[in-house]
């Protein structure tokens, strides 16, 4: 396939106005699935987290997960939406092997939440308001693995395997209205919007929101219209964009690709497009038209969802503060400067930082570790820092340093072990034998060995050349393989000189 022609971004923006739209699917972290009692758990041997409903077995019937409804209402409220007095499930009919019943139970004309707005903060602190059309409940499909083809796609595959563990996992699909006015910041807004949704669902605790696991999936709609035009352009829907960075890149790519086509007098094909992380390009999927006929009709196996006013009031009262308010509060509480704080936001580590502080660490220490060592490793590996280690473990690590059980150097080694999956910091300390030796007798023995090798040091110290202690401290640290507290060693050496 020939590479797409791209117009330079600035030129594309000069000629065309980008209009965005997003469909974000959030997997809810309920214990069981949307319509069955099978566990809603990531992983597991294929087709083990399944009940008859998830396999679409004849005679099986769906039953709505009450917790999923509560989560959906909370999420709707957090998106500033109205909650429908009565909402209904509908069947979306289409044949696909990952869809056990060959229809998806979704919501169509009566979603549970509608008409909201989300404040999205851009990198420089500008706040952009994204209009939300609706948020509706639905079930996830299973997972297909295409075997035998070169690309891992269905085209060219010899056969396909299907795993229904994910089938029936509860989803909320959040649909925006068309977003105008983002202009040259459209790619940045795309990233910031998805990050905001991620922060909202995390703060609500309704989803693990891990993009690399597919807990949060974004389909990005992009269209261009010539400057001054009223009519919206033809849009594409880019799927499979599974990191914040990719969302930004994919939107930028589509703007440039569509601009090149329009500039050459061509027309955009309305279609889904696949995002390719490695090449940073999109490729055509299936043609999509507004006339796609899913033959929606009300799901006759389920009753309408009619939440009581009291339930909605309860859930509203229990809402955590919005990510924007959360940021304002933390900045004040932590006493960081504007630029220190923005570094954290831009690294998408505010939630991690807050959870680390909540677990007991000092804000400055938490910031140091997340923006320092952890971010460095994440960047080296090309992953999101938040996926490497839990805030709880970072807090534990900081506590070990504060208590003197670990030096910074040892702590970095422990962190490595935690990231490698060797357990909690405490587990790693024990397994690798990394704790600082706090037993003075062991330290004194090492000091005496070092002094025996450098007999003149004590005299130098007594003569006032205190820095001479450094040589002994270095030798002790070396002989104890770094597991000594340098300050304590120094104290003991000075005591020896006095004694």
């Amino acid at each position: 396939m020939a590479a797409d022609a791209l117009l330079p971004f600035d030129e594309a923006l000069a000629k065309y106005e980008p209009v965005l739209g997003f469909e974000v699917h959030v997997e809810l972290s309920t214990k069981t699935k949307m319509f069955s009692s099978a566990p809603n758990a990531f992983g597991g041997a294929p087709n083990t987290h399944v009940a008859p409903v998830d396999l679409g077995l004849p005679g099986s019937l769906p039953v709505v997960n009450e917790q999923a409804v509560r989560y959906s209402i909370s999420l709707g409220l957090a998106l500033g939406c109205s909650i429908a007095e009565s909402s209904r499930f509908a069947r979306k009919n289409y044949f696909y092997p990952d869809l056990a019943k060959n229809y998806q139970i979704s919501q169509y004309d009566e979603p549970i939440a509608h008409d909201g707005e989300v404040e999205v903060e851009l990198d420089d602190g500008t706040v952009f308001r994204v209009p939300i059309e609706r948020a509706h409940m639905e079930e996830d499909a299973g997972k297909l693995t295409h075997v035998g083809g070169a690309t891992g796609r269905i085209h060219g595959a010899e056969y396909s395997l299907v795993d229904y563990n994910r089938a029936g996992v509860p989803l909320v699909e959040i649909v925006t209205r068309p977003i105008f006015g983002a202009e040259d910041r459209a790619p940045e807004l795309a990233r910031a919007y998805v990050a905001t949704i991620r922060d909202i669902v995390r703060s609500l605790g309704v989803s693990d929101a891990r993009m690399e696991r597919g807990n949060l999936r974004c389909d990005a709609n992009v269209s261009l219209r010539p400057r001054g035009a009223e009519k919206l352009g033809i849009r594409t829907e880019t799927k499979n964009v599974n990191s914040l960075r990719s969302v930004e890149r994919a939107v930028r790519y589509e703007i440039q690709r569509q601009a090149a086509i329009l500039d050459a007098g061509g027309t955009i094909i309305q279609e889904t497009r696949h995002w390719h992380e490695d090449s940073g390009t999109t490729s055509p999927g299936r043609p999509k038209s507004d006339a796609d006929d899913y033959r929606y009709f009300p799901e006759p196996d389920l009753l309408p969802i009619v939440p009581s006013k009291q339930l909605i009031a309860e859930l509203r009262a229990a809402l955590p503060e919005s990510p924007a308010a959360f940021r304002r509060r933390l900045q004040a509480e932590y006493g960081f400067t504007e630029s220190e704080f923005r570094d954290i936001i831009n690294a998408n580590l505010l939630v991690e930082l807050e959870q680390t502080v909540a677990a007991g660490a000092a804000p400055a220490q938490a910031r140091k570790w997340w923006l320092g060592e952890i971010l460095r490793i994440a960047n080296a590996r090309g992953v999101e820092a938040g996926t490497l280690v839990s805030p709880f473990h970072v807090s534990e690590l900081i506590a070990l340093v504060e208590s003197g059980r670990l030096t910074d150097r040892l702590a970095r080694e422990v962190l490595e072990g935690v990231i490698a999956g060797e357990g909690s910091p405490d587990d790693v300390v024990k397994a690798r034998g990394l704790a600082v030796v706090s037993d003075d007798s062991a330290l004194l023995a090492a000091i005496d060995d070092a002094l025996a090798a450098q007999p003149d040091v004590l005299d130098k110290i007594r003569d006032g050349k205190v820095q001479a202690a450094g040589a002994v401290i270095g030798a002790v640290m070396k002989s104890m393989k770094g597991r000594a507290d340098a300050a304590r060693v120094r104290e003991l050496v000075l005591e020896r000189a006095q004694g």
Partner: protein
């Protein structure tokens, strides 16, 4: 004493008093099946050994002094639309041939818990689509009153099995009359409960908003007893009503004992009376109404102006839901798989499987339903049908202002001949004209025999309908009417069932094969 001739209520008494064992009763049923089913083909699967084992367990429990339910040890036949863990559950379709579900339908689990003994699975029109059981992929069931005639459908197997004394009671399912119309043409009793009164979990779905499982029996009391066992709230079915039901058996006993209907208003529906009904059906129906009047009932005429649109609405709603419910039969996870020669894509395998696995009536309805739900047609078809449904519900509400129970003939004609309507779907559909409104409105309907039509000597049934949740009222009035009829006849109607299944009626000693694919249009008889 021929145990197979006893109603379940009487058999249960003998079992309780230990005069008869469940093994004896079960063996009697199995022997009768062995004797009769070659002619009738009411069963798709007979679980003889398992039934005898279960019967023996029940006998042991009783011998041990265990407290058992009123129907413990009574054999029962189960329509093949219901999932059973120990027997294939095919819904009469080739696409589910040999499929054994990993779970019991809730109604099956409940009758097992009640100690009832499943005899096997009964024949039906494929996926319950039909009024004659001729659309079964495994061949038709024949009517024990006349082997050349249909036993009704879709539950012809359950009705024929009960009418021919192969089983004292059976389970059926009723989407548009599949319990009541077979009951009418076989001289048996059948109840479609209030929608939500009996769990649909494990009932292979035809049209989810219309399907309802119910009992088939020879007496009203027997249906009530079975209804008591299978009914009530089921958390696995979201459309199941969460409420306490009265004892239906008590209602039936009270009705049979009192035989007094003073104060009960019986509504005759103007639009379902007279024109269009076979003369003998109309005669017996009017006689039954006269009998109700002598028992003190007040007879009123009510109007249900929108019932004339019921069939049209039903044949949009049902296919629409069915087209979606039947999409799961795609060969990927269970059931038949047909792979075209030389391998194929998943779409081609799905297509070949559905092409080979579904019969013509199923395909017809899937196509109708897919069309009715399509963008651009939805409002005109499915949407309009739902509006008609609402109007029919209002007709019922208005009628029930004037009457406590509504009555119609259960079916417009007596049993027609096999093959008569197979090539004329519209004529077949019209057979359910009286039963469909109750499904569209979710109200209960009870069918019971009111005699034999003078012109052909075949059974005629009456249908009683009550407001939703008033199932007990139907058992009370139905049992009262039944007692009056038995009194006037001197014996139950089924005592007149011809021992040779009506062979003497037919001119030809051999039955004509059913016209269909592979046979001549004239049936190919010699």
């Amino acid at each position: 004493m021929d145990l197979t001739r006893l109603p379940a209520s009487e058999l249960a008494e003998l079992l309780t008093s230990k005069e008869v064992s469940s093994v004896e009763a079960t063996r009697a049923s199995l022997d009768r099946i062995g004797e009769a089913d070659g002619d009738l083909h009411a069963f798709l699967h007979v679980a003889g050994d398992a039934a005898l084992r279960r019967a023996s367990e029940i006998d042991q429990l009783r011998a041990d002094g265990q407290e058992l339910g009123p129907l413990a040890g009574v054999p029962i036949a189960i329509k093949d639309v219901l999932c059973t863990v120990d027997m294939p559950s095919t819904a009469g379709s080739r696409i589910l041939e040999g499929w054994v579900p990993p779970y019991d339908a809730t109604v099956v689990a409940r009758l097992r818990t009640a100690g009832m003994v499943p005899l096997g699975k009964t024949n039906m029109d494929e996926f319950a689509m039909g009024s004659s059981t001729e659309h079964s992929a495994y061949g038709p069931t024949r009517n024990p009153w006349d082997l050349e005639r249909i036993p009704g459908g879709s539950g012809g197997g359950s009705a024929a099995a009960v009418a021919a004394f192969e089983a004292p009671v059976a389970l059926g399912s009723d989407t548009g009359g599949s319990i009541r119309q077979p009951a009418a043409v076989t001289g048996t009793v059948g109840m479609k409960p209030t929608y939500g009164g009996v769990s649909r979990y494990g009932a292979i779905a035809l049209a989810s908003s219309l399907d309802q499982v119910g009992p088939v029996s020879r007496t009203v009391l027997d249906s009530a007893l079975v209804h008591d066992v299978i009914g009530g709230h089921d958390p696995h079915d979201s459309t199941s009503l969460d409420e306490a039901w009265p004892s239906f058996a008590d209602a039936a006993r009270a009705g049979a004992q009192g035989r007094d209907l003073s104060g009960t208003r019986i509504g005759v529906i103007r639009e379902l009376n007279g024109a269009g009904f076979q003369a003998g059906v109309q005669t017996r129906f009017e006689e039954a109404i006269a009998l109700l009047e002598t028992a003190g009932a007040e007879i009123v005429e009510v109007s249900a102006p929108h019932f004339e649109y019921a069939i049209a609405a039903y044949y949009l709603i049902l296919p629409a839901e069915a087209s979606s419910n039947l999409a799961k039969y795609d060969s990927v996870r269970f059931g038949l798989r047909v792979v075209p020669d030389g391998g194929a894509t998943v779409e081609q395998v799905m297509s070949a499987t559905r092409g080979a696995g579904f019969g013509p009536e199923v395909k017809r309805r899937i196509i109708l339903g897919t069309y009715a739900l399509s963008a651009g047609y939805y409002d005109a078809y499915y949407g309009s049908a739902q509006k008609v449904r609402t109007l029919i519900q209002r007709d019922f509400a208005a009628a029930f202002e004037q009457a406590d129970v509504l009555v119609t003939p259960s079916a417009p004609t007596t049993a027609f001949k096999l093959g008569d309507k197979l090539d004329d779907p519209l004529a077949m559909y019209l057979n359910d004209i009286t039963t469909i409104p109750a499904n569209l409105a979710g109200v209960p309907g009870l069918g019971l025999p009111v005699g034999l039509a003078p012109e052909d000597g075949l059974p005629v049934g009456i249908q009683l309908m009550a407001p939703a949740r008033e199932d007990a009222r139907l058992y009370r009035v139905g049992a009262g009417l039944e007692a009056l009829l038995h009194e006037s006849w001197g014996a139950p109607l089924l005592d007149r069932l011809p021992a040779d299944f009506g062979r003497h009626r037919g001119a030809a000693p051999h039955l004509a094969p059913v016209p269909g694919p592979g046979t001549e249009p004239d049936g190919g008889t010699a």
